[in-house]
Symmetry: C2
Protein backbone atom coordinates (compact mmCIF):
# COMPACT_ATOMS: atom_id res chain seq x y z
CA UNK A 1 0.00 0.00 0.00
CA UNK A 2 2.92 2.35 0.35
CA UNK A 3 4.35 2.63 -3.07
CA UNK A 4 6.74 5.48 -2.85
CA UNK A 5 6.76 6.86 -6.35
CA UNK A 6 3.27 6.28 -7.67
CA UNK A 7 -0.19 7.14 -6.47
CA UNK A 8 -3.70 5.89 -7.05
CA UNK A 9 -5.95 6.00 -10.03
CA UNK A 10 -5.99 9.68 -10.81
CA UNK A 11 -4.26 9.11 -14.06
CA UNK A 12 -6.57 10.78 -16.52
CA UNK A 13 -6.52 14.52 -17.13
CA UNK A 14 -4.30 15.46 -14.26
CA UNK A 15 -1.88 17.40 -16.28
CA UNK A 16 -3.69 20.65 -16.69
CA UNK A 17 -5.18 20.76 -13.20
CA UNK A 18 -3.74 23.08 -10.62
CA UNK A 19 -1.68 21.38 -7.97
CA UNK A 20 -4.24 21.95 -5.26
CA UNK A 21 -6.93 20.07 -7.14
CA UNK A 22 -4.53 17.30 -7.94
CA UNK A 23 -3.60 17.00 -4.28
CA UNK A 24 -7.28 17.01 -3.33
CA UNK A 25 -8.07 14.14 -5.66
CA UNK A 26 -5.08 12.10 -4.56
CA UNK A 27 -5.67 12.50 -0.85
CA UNK A 28 -9.39 11.85 -1.15
CA UNK A 29 -8.64 8.72 -3.07
CA UNK A 30 -6.08 7.60 -0.49
CA UNK A 31 -8.64 8.06 2.27
CA UNK A 32 -11.51 6.37 0.47
CA UNK A 33 -9.53 3.33 -0.53
CA UNK A 34 -8.36 2.98 3.03
CA UNK A 35 -4.67 3.65 2.46
CA UNK A 36 -4.91 6.23 5.23
CA UNK A 37 -6.63 4.51 8.13
CA UNK A 38 -9.29 6.39 10.09
CA UNK A 39 -8.01 8.25 13.10
CA UNK A 40 -4.52 8.42 11.72
CA UNK A 41 -2.81 11.75 11.48
CA UNK A 42 -2.07 12.83 7.93
CA UNK A 43 1.48 14.06 7.77
CA UNK A 44 1.75 16.88 5.28
CA UNK A 45 5.35 16.07 4.61
CA UNK A 46 4.82 12.40 3.85
CA UNK A 47 2.01 13.20 1.42
CA UNK A 48 4.18 15.86 -0.15
CA UNK A 49 6.94 13.36 -0.71
CA UNK A 50 4.63 10.71 -2.07
CA UNK A 51 3.02 13.08 -4.54
CA UNK A 52 5.91 15.34 -5.45
CA UNK A 53 3.71 18.33 -4.60
CA UNK A 54 4.86 20.86 -2.10
CA UNK A 55 3.22 21.33 1.27
CA UNK A 56 1.23 24.44 0.43
CA UNK A 57 -1.28 22.89 -2.00
CA UNK A 58 -1.48 19.80 0.16
CA UNK A 59 -2.40 21.91 3.11
CA UNK A 60 -5.06 23.64 1.04
CA UNK A 61 -6.47 20.30 -0.04
CA UNK A 62 -6.63 19.11 3.55
CA UNK A 63 -8.55 22.19 4.55
CA UNK A 64 -11.09 21.50 1.87
CA UNK A 65 -11.36 17.90 2.92
CA UNK A 66 -12.10 19.08 6.40
CA UNK A 67 -15.01 21.10 5.06
CA UNK A 68 -16.12 18.05 3.15
CA UNK A 69 -16.06 16.11 6.38
CA UNK A 70 -13.53 13.46 5.44
CA UNK A 71 -10.84 14.72 7.78
CA UNK A 72 -10.88 16.63 11.03
CA UNK A 73 -8.42 18.96 12.68
CA UNK A 74 -6.35 17.73 15.59
CA UNK A 75 -6.29 20.10 18.56
CA UNK A 76 -2.52 20.05 18.61
CA UNK A 77 -2.39 20.91 14.92
CA UNK A 78 -2.71 19.10 11.65
CA UNK A 79 -5.41 16.80 10.33
CA UNK A 80 -6.57 13.24 10.89
CA UNK A 81 -8.78 10.91 8.91
CA UNK A 82 -12.29 10.96 10.30
CA UNK A 83 -14.25 7.87 11.17
CA UNK A 84 -17.99 7.44 11.26
CA UNK A 85 -20.38 5.52 13.43
CA UNK A 86 -23.13 3.58 11.75
CA UNK A 87 -25.55 6.12 13.13
CA UNK A 88 -23.59 8.87 11.41
CA UNK A 89 -24.01 7.12 8.08
CA UNK A 90 -27.74 6.59 8.54
CA UNK A 91 -28.12 10.22 9.49
CA UNK A 92 -26.15 11.35 6.47
CA UNK A 93 -28.45 9.33 4.26
CA UNK A 94 -31.51 10.78 5.95
CA UNK A 95 -30.14 14.27 5.42
CA UNK A 96 -29.58 13.60 1.77
CA UNK A 97 -33.11 12.27 1.47
CA UNK A 98 -34.49 15.35 3.13
CA UNK A 99 -32.59 17.72 0.87
CA UNK A 100 -33.28 15.77 -2.29
CA UNK A 101 -36.89 15.65 -1.20
CA UNK A 102 -36.90 19.41 -0.97
CA UNK A 103 -35.33 19.57 -4.42
CA UNK A 104 -38.00 17.29 -5.83
CA UNK A 105 -40.74 19.39 -4.28
CA UNK A 106 -39.28 22.60 -5.67
CA UNK A 107 -38.88 20.95 -9.05
CA UNK A 108 -42.56 20.06 -8.94
CA UNK A 109 -43.65 23.47 -7.71
CA UNK A 110 -41.60 25.72 -9.90
CA UNK A 111 -39.58 23.61 -12.32
CA UNK A 112 -39.74 24.25 -16.01
CA UNK A 113 -41.55 21.39 -17.72
CA UNK A 114 -39.07 21.66 -20.57
CA UNK A 115 -36.73 19.72 -18.35
CA UNK A 116 -38.92 16.66 -18.39
CA UNK A 117 -37.43 15.54 -21.69
CA UNK A 118 -33.98 14.69 -20.39
CA UNK A 119 -35.56 13.26 -17.26
CA UNK A 120 -37.68 10.83 -19.21
CA UNK A 121 -34.78 9.89 -21.43
CA UNK A 122 -32.76 9.13 -18.36
CA UNK A 123 -35.62 7.09 -16.91
CA UNK A 124 -35.77 5.04 -20.05
CA UNK A 125 -32.06 4.38 -20.02
CA UNK A 126 -32.32 3.20 -16.43
CA UNK A 127 -35.21 0.97 -17.41
CA UNK A 128 -33.11 -0.74 -20.02
CA UNK A 129 -30.21 -1.22 -17.66
CA UNK A 130 -32.41 -2.61 -14.92
CA UNK A 131 -34.29 -4.93 -17.25
CA UNK A 132 -31.43 -6.38 -19.19
CA UNK A 133 -27.90 -5.82 -18.13
CA UNK A 134 -28.27 -5.68 -14.41
CA UNK A 135 -26.67 -9.03 -13.85
CA UNK A 136 -23.34 -7.97 -15.22
CA UNK A 137 -20.66 -5.93 -13.59
CA UNK A 138 -20.76 -3.44 -16.40
CA UNK A 139 -24.49 -3.19 -15.98
CA UNK A 140 -24.09 -1.99 -12.44
CA UNK A 141 -21.55 0.51 -13.59
CA UNK A 142 -23.94 1.89 -16.18
CA UNK A 143 -26.65 1.98 -13.56
CA UNK A 144 -24.49 4.06 -11.27
CA UNK A 145 -23.84 6.59 -14.00
CA UNK A 146 -27.42 6.92 -15.12
CA UNK A 147 -28.68 6.98 -11.55
CA UNK A 148 -26.35 9.82 -10.66
CA UNK A 149 -27.51 11.70 -13.72
CA UNK A 150 -31.17 11.29 -12.84
CA UNK A 151 -30.61 12.61 -9.35
CA UNK A 152 -28.62 15.53 -10.75
CA UNK A 153 -31.37 16.34 -13.23
CA UNK A 154 -33.96 16.51 -10.49
CA UNK A 155 -31.78 18.81 -8.43
CA UNK A 156 -31.15 20.96 -11.49
CA UNK A 157 -34.84 21.28 -12.09
CA UNK A 158 -35.31 22.84 -8.67
CA UNK A 159 -33.30 25.76 -10.03
CA UNK A 160 -31.78 26.66 -6.73
CA UNK A 161 -28.02 27.09 -6.69
CA UNK A 162 -28.09 27.32 -2.92
CA UNK A 163 -29.84 24.01 -2.57
CA UNK A 164 -27.56 22.46 -5.15
CA UNK A 165 -24.52 23.49 -3.15
CA UNK A 166 -26.00 22.12 0.03
CA UNK A 167 -26.78 18.78 -1.56
CA UNK A 168 -23.32 18.61 -3.06
CA UNK A 169 -21.95 18.93 0.39
CA UNK A 170 -24.29 16.37 1.88
CA UNK A 171 -23.19 13.92 -0.77
CA UNK A 172 -19.50 14.57 -0.30
CA UNK A 173 -19.57 11.86 2.32
CA UNK A 174 -19.38 9.23 -0.37
CA UNK A 175 -21.39 6.59 1.41
CA UNK A 176 -24.22 9.08 1.61
CA UNK A 177 -24.33 9.50 -2.15
CA UNK A 178 -27.18 8.10 -4.22
CA UNK A 179 -24.79 5.64 -5.80
CA UNK A 180 -22.88 4.79 -2.66
CA UNK A 181 -24.21 1.31 -2.13
CA UNK A 182 -25.14 0.33 -5.63
CA UNK A 183 -21.83 -1.31 -6.40
CA UNK A 184 -22.12 -3.25 -3.17
CA UNK A 185 -25.49 -4.56 -4.28
CA UNK A 186 -23.80 -6.42 -7.08
CA UNK A 187 -22.49 -8.76 -4.42
CA UNK A 188 -25.71 -9.09 -2.48
CA UNK A 189 -28.29 -11.09 -4.43
CA UNK A 190 -30.97 -10.43 -1.84
CA UNK A 191 -30.76 -6.76 -2.63
CA UNK A 192 -31.09 -7.07 -6.38
CA UNK A 193 -34.78 -6.54 -6.20
CA UNK A 194 -34.15 -3.30 -4.41
CA UNK A 195 -33.12 -1.95 -7.77
CA UNK A 196 -36.59 -2.62 -9.13
CA UNK A 197 -38.11 -0.77 -6.23
CA UNK A 198 -35.68 2.08 -6.70
CA UNK A 199 -36.49 2.36 -10.36
CA UNK A 200 -40.19 2.37 -9.59
CA UNK A 201 -39.60 5.27 -7.25
CA UNK A 202 -37.67 7.04 -9.97
CA UNK A 203 -40.68 6.73 -12.26
CA UNK A 204 -43.08 7.85 -9.54
CA UNK A 205 -41.09 10.88 -8.55
CA UNK A 206 -40.81 12.05 -12.13
CA UNK A 207 -44.52 11.52 -12.57
CA UNK A 208 -45.20 13.51 -9.42
CA UNK A 209 -42.99 16.32 -10.64
CA UNK A 210 -44.71 16.32 -14.01
CA UNK A 211 -48.07 16.61 -12.26
CA UNK A 212 -46.74 19.34 -9.97
CA UNK A 213 -47.50 17.15 -6.97
CA UNK A 214 -44.89 18.66 -4.70
CA UNK A 215 -45.68 16.84 -1.48
CA UNK A 216 -45.77 13.49 -3.23
CA UNK A 217 -42.47 14.07 -4.98
CA UNK A 218 -40.89 15.05 -1.69
CA UNK A 219 -42.16 12.01 0.16
CA UNK A 220 -41.06 9.61 -2.53
CA UNK A 221 -37.61 11.10 -2.69
CA UNK A 222 -37.19 10.79 1.06
CA UNK A 223 -38.23 7.18 1.01
CA UNK A 224 -36.01 6.60 -1.98
CA UNK A 225 -32.98 7.67 0.00
CA UNK A 226 -33.90 5.26 2.76
CA UNK A 227 -33.29 2.42 0.34
CA UNK A 228 -29.63 3.28 0.72
CA UNK A 229 -30.06 2.86 4.44
CA UNK A 230 -31.47 -0.61 3.91
CA UNK A 231 -28.58 -1.49 1.67
CA UNK A 232 -26.20 -0.24 4.30
CA UNK A 233 -27.82 -2.53 6.84
CA UNK A 234 -27.35 -5.44 4.49
CA UNK A 235 -23.80 -4.48 3.61
CA UNK A 236 -22.82 -4.31 7.24
CA UNK A 237 -23.22 -8.08 7.35
CA UNK A 238 -21.27 -8.67 4.15
CA UNK A 239 -17.62 -7.98 4.67
CA UNK A 240 -16.95 -8.21 0.96
CA UNK A 241 -19.81 -5.91 0.10
CA UNK A 242 -18.71 -3.24 2.51
CA UNK A 243 -15.32 -3.20 0.86
CA UNK A 244 -16.94 -2.09 -2.36
CA UNK A 245 -18.63 0.86 -0.75
CA UNK A 246 -16.48 3.94 -1.28
CA UNK A 247 -15.23 5.02 2.09
CA UNK A 248 -16.58 1.86 3.68
CA UNK A 249 -13.32 1.55 5.57
CA UNK A 250 -14.22 4.71 7.47
CA UNK A 251 -17.29 3.16 9.07
CA UNK A 252 -16.61 1.96 12.59
CA UNK A 253 -17.70 -1.59 13.18
CA UNK A 254 -18.64 -1.00 16.80
CA UNK A 255 -20.67 2.01 17.58
Amino acid sequence: MSQVAEFPSTSEADKGQPRTVKALLIIRELILEGALPPGKRISELSVAERTGISRTPIRAALQRLEEEGLVETIPSGGFAVKSFSQQDVFDAIEIRGTLEGLAARLAAERGSMARLGPLNACLQELDEVVESAIATEEGFSRYVTANARLHALIVDMAESPTLERQIERAVSLPFASPSGFVMAQALMPESHRVLFVAQDQHRCVVEAIANREGARAEAIMQEHARLAGRNLRLALHHEKALERVPGGALIRKVR
Copy 2:
Protein backbone atom coordinates in the same frame (compact mmCIF):
# COMPACT_ATOMS: atom_id res chain seq x y z
CA MET B 1 -14.01 52.88 3.56
CA SER B 2 -10.32 52.20 3.26
CA GLN B 3 -8.82 52.93 6.59
CA VAL B 4 -5.28 51.74 6.22
CA ALA B 5 -4.24 50.88 9.72
CA GLU B 6 -7.32 49.68 11.56
CA PHE B 7 -9.90 46.97 11.04
CA PRO B 8 -13.40 46.20 12.29
CA SER B 9 -14.70 45.16 15.63
CA THR B 10 -12.70 42.06 16.32
CA SER B 11 -11.12 43.60 19.34
CA GLU B 12 -11.93 41.09 22.05
CA ALA B 13 -9.99 37.88 22.57
CA ASP B 14 -8.01 37.97 19.39
CA LYS B 15 -4.70 37.61 21.02
CA GLY B 16 -4.54 33.89 21.53
CA GLN B 17 -6.23 32.94 18.28
CA PRO B 18 -4.17 31.57 15.43
CA ARG B 19 -3.68 33.97 12.58
CA THR B 20 -5.93 32.04 10.23
CA VAL B 21 -8.90 32.37 12.55
CA LYS B 22 -8.19 36.03 13.09
CA ALA B 23 -8.08 36.60 9.36
CA LEU B 24 -11.31 34.65 8.93
CA LEU B 25 -13.14 36.81 11.46
CA ILE B 26 -11.81 40.03 10.03
CA ILE B 27 -12.63 39.24 6.42
CA ARG B 28 -16.07 37.91 7.28
CA GLU B 29 -16.79 41.07 9.19
CA LEU B 30 -15.56 43.22 6.31
CA ILE B 31 -17.88 41.42 3.92
CA LEU B 32 -20.93 41.45 6.17
CA GLU B 33 -20.68 45.10 7.01
CA GLY B 34 -20.37 45.88 3.32
CA ALA B 35 -16.83 47.20 3.36
CA LEU B 36 -16.07 44.77 0.55
CA PRO B 37 -18.83 45.27 -2.01
CA PRO B 38 -20.36 42.19 -3.65
CA GLY B 39 -18.75 41.14 -6.89
CA LYS B 40 -15.51 42.86 -6.01
CA ARG B 41 -12.32 40.90 -6.13
CA ILE B 42 -10.65 40.49 -2.77
CA SER B 43 -6.98 41.24 -3.16
CA GLU B 44 -4.94 39.08 -0.84
CA LEU B 45 -2.22 41.65 -0.64
CA SER B 46 -4.46 44.54 0.34
CA VAL B 47 -6.09 42.50 3.09
CA ALA B 48 -2.67 41.40 4.24
CA GLU B 49 -1.54 44.98 4.50
CA ARG B 50 -4.66 46.12 6.26
CA THR B 51 -4.46 43.38 8.84
CA GLY B 52 -0.75 42.96 9.24
CA ILE B 53 -1.17 39.23 8.61
CA SER B 54 0.77 37.55 5.88
CA ARG B 55 -0.84 36.18 2.77
CA THR B 56 -0.81 32.53 3.74
CA PRO B 57 -3.39 32.64 6.56
CA ILE B 58 -5.46 35.11 4.56
CA ARG B 59 -5.55 32.71 1.69
CA ALA B 60 -6.63 29.94 4.05
CA ALA B 61 -9.39 32.12 5.44
CA LEU B 62 -10.64 32.93 1.96
CA GLN B 63 -10.83 29.24 1.13
CA ARG B 64 -12.97 28.65 4.17
CA LEU B 65 -15.19 31.57 3.29
CA GLU B 66 -15.68 30.04 -0.09
CA GLU B 67 -16.93 26.86 1.57
CA GLU B 68 -19.18 28.99 3.74
CA GLY B 69 -20.55 30.53 0.59
CA LEU B 70 -19.67 34.15 1.28
CA VAL B 71 -17.05 34.36 -1.48
CA GLU B 72 -16.55 32.57 -4.75
CA THR B 73 -13.50 31.77 -6.81
CA ILE B 74 -12.80 33.76 -9.94
CA PRO B 75 -11.94 31.63 -12.97
CA SER B 76 -8.80 33.59 -13.55
CA GLY B 77 -7.74 33.10 -9.95
CA GLY B 78 -8.47 34.63 -6.61
CA PHE B 79 -11.75 35.27 -4.82
CA ALA B 80 -14.63 37.69 -5.09
CA VAL B 81 -17.44 38.64 -2.73
CA LYS B 82 -20.57 36.76 -3.62
CA SER B 83 -23.95 38.36 -4.09
CA PHE B 84 -27.34 36.77 -3.64
CA SER B 85 -30.64 37.08 -5.40
CA GLN B 86 -33.75 37.37 -3.29
CA GLN B 87 -34.66 33.90 -4.44
CA ASP B 88 -31.33 32.64 -3.11
CA VAL B 89 -32.16 34.03 0.30
CA PHE B 90 -35.64 32.54 0.37
CA ASP B 91 -34.19 29.20 -0.66
CA ALA B 92 -31.54 29.38 2.02
CA ILE B 93 -34.24 29.98 4.61
CA GLU B 94 -36.30 27.10 3.28
CA ILE B 95 -33.25 24.84 3.49
CA ARG B 96 -32.65 25.84 7.07
CA GLY B 97 -36.28 25.16 7.87
CA THR B 98 -36.06 21.75 6.29
CA LEU B 99 -32.93 20.80 8.20
CA GLU B 100 -34.11 22.23 11.49
CA GLY B 101 -37.36 20.43 10.91
CA LEU B 102 -35.45 17.19 10.54
CA ALA B 103 -33.58 18.00 13.73
CA ALA B 104 -36.83 18.61 15.59
CA ARG B 105 -38.25 15.34 14.32
CA LEU B 106 -35.16 13.40 15.37
CA ALA B 107 -35.24 15.14 18.73
CA ALA B 108 -38.83 13.97 19.15
CA GLU B 109 -38.13 10.46 17.94
CA ARG B 110 -34.94 9.68 19.76
CA GLY B 111 -34.03 12.63 21.97
CA SER B 112 -33.33 12.14 25.63
CA MET B 113 -36.11 13.69 27.66
CA ALA B 114 -33.51 14.85 30.15
CA ARG B 115 -32.82 17.64 27.70
CA LEU B 116 -36.26 19.12 28.16
CA GLY B 117 -35.14 20.96 31.28
CA PRO B 118 -32.84 23.44 29.57
CA LEU B 119 -35.32 23.72 26.71
CA ASN B 120 -38.12 24.77 29.02
CA ALA B 121 -35.85 27.15 30.87
CA CYS B 122 -34.96 28.74 27.57
CA LEU B 123 -38.63 28.94 26.61
CA GLN B 124 -39.40 30.72 29.82
CA GLU B 125 -36.62 33.22 29.32
CA LEU B 126 -37.94 33.94 25.85
CA ASP B 127 -41.39 34.40 27.29
CA GLU B 128 -40.16 37.04 29.66
CA VAL B 129 -38.28 38.88 26.95
CA VAL B 130 -41.21 38.82 24.59
CA GLU B 131 -43.70 39.92 27.24
CA SER B 132 -41.79 42.73 28.82
CA ALA B 133 -38.65 44.04 27.27
CA ILE B 134 -39.38 43.59 23.63
CA ALA B 135 -39.88 47.28 23.01
CA THR B 136 -36.31 48.14 23.87
CA GLU B 137 -33.20 47.73 21.84
CA GLU B 138 -31.62 45.65 24.55
CA GLY B 139 -34.72 43.49 24.60
CA PHE B 140 -34.20 42.52 21.00
CA SER B 141 -30.62 41.75 21.70
CA ARG B 142 -31.58 39.43 24.55
CA TYR B 143 -34.17 37.85 22.30
CA VAL B 144 -31.57 37.11 19.65
CA THR B 145 -29.34 35.39 22.17
CA ALA B 146 -32.04 33.27 23.75
CA ASN B 147 -33.56 32.44 20.37
CA ALA B 148 -30.22 31.21 19.09
CA ARG B 149 -29.81 29.10 22.21
CA LEU B 150 -33.24 27.53 21.83
CA HIS B 151 -32.54 26.56 18.26
CA ALA B 152 -29.17 25.17 19.26
CA LEU B 153 -30.73 23.12 22.06
CA ILE B 154 -33.20 21.54 19.67
CA VAL B 155 -30.44 20.63 17.25
CA ASP B 156 -28.38 19.23 20.12
CA MET B 157 -31.25 17.06 21.20
CA ALA B 158 -31.28 15.36 17.81
CA GLU B 159 -27.88 13.97 18.79
CA SER B 160 -26.58 13.88 15.27
CA PRO B 161 -23.18 15.47 14.70
CA THR B 162 -23.63 15.10 10.97
CA LEU B 163 -26.88 17.01 10.99
CA GLU B 164 -25.41 19.59 13.31
CA ARG B 165 -22.58 20.23 10.86
CA GLN B 166 -24.97 20.51 7.98
CA ILE B 167 -27.14 23.01 9.80
CA GLU B 168 -24.11 25.01 10.82
CA ARG B 169 -23.25 25.31 7.20
CA ALA B 170 -26.76 26.24 6.14
CA VAL B 171 -26.75 28.98 8.73
CA SER B 172 -23.36 30.33 7.72
CA LEU B 173 -25.18 32.51 5.24
CA PRO B 174 -26.01 34.96 7.98
CA PHE B 175 -29.31 36.12 6.59
CA ALA B 176 -30.45 32.51 6.68
CA SER B 177 -29.82 32.23 10.40
CA PRO B 178 -32.69 32.03 12.89
CA SER B 179 -31.74 35.43 14.22
CA GLY B 180 -30.96 37.04 10.91
CA PHE B 181 -33.98 39.28 10.70
CA VAL B 182 -34.80 39.78 14.32
CA MET B 183 -32.76 42.92 14.71
CA ALA B 184 -34.44 44.30 11.62
CA GLN B 185 -37.82 43.71 13.22
CA ALA B 186 -37.00 46.30 15.83
CA LEU B 187 -37.45 48.87 13.11
CA MET B 188 -40.60 47.41 11.64
CA PRO B 189 -43.57 47.85 13.98
CA GLU B 190 -45.82 45.78 11.74
CA SER B 191 -43.63 42.80 12.34
CA HIS B 192 -43.56 43.02 16.12
CA ARG B 193 -46.43 40.63 16.42
CA VAL B 194 -44.46 38.14 14.44
CA LEU B 195 -42.42 37.63 17.57
CA PHE B 196 -45.52 36.45 19.42
CA VAL B 197 -46.24 33.98 16.67
CA ALA B 198 -42.64 32.82 16.70
CA GLN B 199 -42.69 32.31 20.42
CA ASP B 200 -45.91 30.34 20.15
CA GLN B 201 -44.23 28.10 17.64
CA HIS B 202 -41.32 27.67 20.01
CA ARG B 203 -43.70 26.45 22.69
CA CYS B 204 -45.51 24.17 20.29
CA VAL B 205 -42.39 22.57 18.91
CA VAL B 206 -41.06 21.84 22.38
CA GLU B 207 -44.42 20.38 23.34
CA ALA B 208 -44.38 18.22 20.24
CA ILE B 209 -40.89 17.01 21.04
CA ALA B 210 -41.90 16.24 24.60
CA ASN B 211 -44.83 14.19 23.30
CA ARG B 212 -42.59 12.47 20.75
CA GLU B 213 -44.78 13.82 17.97
CA GLY B 214 -42.09 13.82 15.31
CA ALA B 215 -44.12 14.84 12.30
CA ARG B 216 -45.71 17.72 14.17
CA ALA B 217 -42.39 19.00 15.44
CA GLU B 218 -40.97 18.85 11.94
CA ALA B 219 -43.87 20.73 10.39
CA ILE B 220 -43.84 23.45 13.00
CA MET B 221 -40.12 23.98 12.63
CA GLN B 222 -40.44 24.32 8.88
CA GLU B 223 -43.18 26.86 9.19
CA HIS B 224 -41.22 28.61 11.89
CA ALA B 225 -38.36 29.21 9.48
CA ARG B 226 -40.75 30.69 6.97
CA LEU B 227 -41.40 33.52 9.39
CA ALA B 228 -37.92 34.67 8.49
CA GLY B 229 -39.00 34.66 4.87
CA ARG B 230 -41.94 36.93 5.74
CA ASN B 231 -39.63 39.26 7.61
CA LEU B 232 -37.33 39.32 4.62
CA ARG B 233 -40.21 40.35 2.42
CA LEU B 234 -41.02 43.18 4.79
CA ALA B 235 -37.40 44.22 5.17
CA LEU B 236 -36.97 44.45 1.43
CA HIS B 237 -39.28 47.46 1.53
CA HIS B 238 -37.52 49.11 4.46
CA GLU B 239 -34.15 50.39 3.44
CA LYS B 240 -33.20 51.05 7.04
CA ALA B 241 -34.29 47.63 8.17
CA LEU B 242 -32.29 45.84 5.52
CA GLU B 243 -29.20 47.65 6.71
CA ARG B 244 -29.57 45.95 10.06
CA VAL B 245 -29.66 42.49 8.59
CA PRO B 246 -26.17 41.03 8.72
CA GLY B 247 -25.02 40.64 5.15
CA GLY B 248 -28.00 42.56 3.89
CA ALA B 249 -25.67 44.43 1.58
CA LEU B 250 -25.06 41.19 -0.30
CA ILE B 251 -28.67 40.85 -1.41
CA ARG B 252 -29.22 42.14 -4.91
CA LYS B 253 -32.07 44.59 -5.19
CA VAL B 254 -33.08 43.41 -8.63
CA ARG B 255 -33.51 39.76 -9.17
